[in-house]
Point group: C3
Chain length 292, copies 3
Amino acid sequence: MGRNLFNLKELSITEIEAILDQATVFLNAKNHKKFAGKIACNLFFEPSTRTQYGFQVAEMNLDIKAIGFNPEASSLKKEESFYDTIKTFDAFGADLLVIRHPSNGYYEQLAGKIETPIINAGDGTGDHPTQSLLDLLTIRQEFGSFNGLSVVMVGDIAHSRVVHTNFEAMKRLGMQVYTSGPEECRQNELNFIPLTQALSRCDVVIMLRIQHERHGKRLCMATDEYNSKYGLNHENVSLMKPNAIIMHPAPINRNVEIIDELVECGRSRIFKQVKNGVFIRMAAVKYALEAD
Amino acid sequence: MGRNLFNLKELSITEIEAILDQATVFLNAKNHKKFAGKIACNLFFEPSTRTQYGFQVAEMNLDIKAIGFNPEASSLKKEESFYDTIKTFDAFGADLLVIRHPSNGYYEQLAGKIETPIINAGDGTGDHPTQSLLDLLTIRQEFGSFNGLSVVMVGDIAHSRVVHTNFEAMKRLGMQVYTSGPEECRQNELNFIPLTQALSRCDVVIMLRIQHERHGKRLCMATDEYNSKYGLNHENVSLMKPNAIIMHPAPINRNVEIIDELVECGRSRIFKQVKNGVFIRMAAVKYALEAD
Amino acid sequence: MGRNLFNLKELSITEIEAILDQATVFLNAKNHKKFAGKIACNLFFEPSTRTQYGFQVAEMNLDIKAIGFNPEASSLKKEESFYDTIKTFDAFGADLLVIRHPSNGYYEQLAGKIETPIINAGDGTGDHPTQSLLDLLTIRQEFGSFNGLSVVMVGDIAHSRVVHTNFEAMKRLGMQVYTSGPEECRQNELNFIPLTQALSRCDVVIMLRIQHERHGKRLCMATDEYNSKYGLNHENVSLMKPNAIIMHPAPINRNVEIIDELVECGRSRIFKQVKNGVFIRMAAVKYALEAD
């Protein structure tokens, strides 16, 4: 009955645009009672605010009952495996599983074993499809379409699942995609560009947090040194094109990748992304529940 | 559309009495479907049982969907700020935020920045308006009105947000308000009185827990020494006026501020306060959602 | 109005069979709106996945609003007692309390003090009535009735509340009940039998996890030594009768009490037990709410 949403590379451009269209419908009228009586289990094996609670709000807007999961108070404490935990929720007969887990491609071991549709809410440094979709919605709201736009993602490229999902999808959508940031976090195949050059060229600048929790060691650099070299600040923001926008998947380390005053400046769409996330997640839930 | 409830000093006597009246209406018929489809986010940055789950029950009685928040599994673990966390929930488009936080006046930094109405569920040693309102409801149920009544709050005066909210509101309502307790916890401007004198004079005796978590160091005193000097026990309870009642915001340290046998004695309204708390919180939610 | 469900020894055979019958009705049509507007509080003072979230799904299937409880973010952190915590939830006026607690017979201190009906979701090494009921449902689905069947429970007999509840109920239902496992975990009054003998004789083989969290010290034995002596493996599984089934209350330590390949083999009913658990818990909730 349902279908999985693991990443965007398995979706066609048409399917991606259909999800954005559905999110726009929800944005204009968020309450939608069609899924009343359904149950979604939100299984987050890593900390999360936007994605975890954004899914919960999205589900509630669809009149779906939402179950949260606290790994710390679960049988994981009695050494139960991830696989057995998911099999258990599958056996409950819930209608949807939303899963975040630190292992890249965790969902591969579940293929063919789990009947309940799964939405991937982030797998390690692999994919984060709903974050990418909300980024795309935010860009489409701003510029009307994707073709010919330039975007740069700046910061911890190697550890960002958002970068990996965005890079592939944005290229397919006809965008020119660049990455920038510290040497230690660079992935050469992802079209590296120096920051100043990127800022003067791109329509969309996506700043990223340094993901200390995924680094073996912390970047050896003071906060203000990081900001002046790789972050957005009063000087380099002036290089941006007149209509260019600033985005960030958040959480933000204010004054590191972006100075405090720019987080809510006129160019910033950072909290608009959060708002869009609710409607994208409603559309993703509808996508997963209504396979035909 | 909605309005904030940060403290009681910004409410008139008429507004306070209106909330008590509304709580009484709910007490007589708790189910109220008017808010069906609304979403409340309960954001507790400090441990809580009564307030946190009492709000959740209150919201559910009003047919509001309740989201709990676990700071330990949130992006606070990735160094996201309190402000950005609240801005995120605001961007979700929920209908109500209920917030407890250890910083006094945490809501001041949110003023003008957050559209969603906020109910303060406790700020540091500042205010705790719904606790104060449920104390007032319990007193009004007992004595019919406030004017001319005497009340003493006994214990950790300096660290109690309940004391600070109650003192101001009770005085405005025409009550004679005293405080008592150990020297280390005294605030001289709050009308100090020795305990034995207070017990023989007051209609309402509100015992308080020593808030070890807010003290730099623990009070250097054995439990039974504390009880005999500053707590309620078999000897001094006999000093109370015939119709005087015992209250406590809880959690209780049994045999410290009050001996075990008195917690559920005939004079005690301690669990009645908890029950009243649900109806007060329903009225507070209605107040916040229905500003006109 | 309601009634407690503390253990099975207080229920007649007729009452037990009636709960199994009701669960079967729910299994065929899980949605049941009769309890709309009711509130259940799930108070787990120990980690749990199946029982905790299975109850939540069961309640939601019955259109009951479910409140989860996080002891780590509650006033237990301010030294509030278990008793006062439960009294607080009772005072909230919720319709049902589901409680798991590490103390055997925790519910005895609540008798006569709590008005809200309580379902015991596990007390220390005492009882676990809904696990036992779901085991019984799984067996009845397989064999049609209980009389004359043989069952063995294998593993950590002394620390298993499931064993204690099952042993008494299964004997009353006319089953031959055995236990097996390591010397250190044996309870002689529970009809001990060597494993190989049990496997060739029994219709139902219930494997148990070593409950390290309830042992003072860990069993001094390597995983594969444990499996070859007391666990199910390729060699000894061939001793089982043709129609005999494997069960496990889970969580499973794969390759300890049962080798990985057998967990989802043709004889295994382990995930069917989880599925049955939802319907048993729906029936248990109905039992508790509908006393007449």
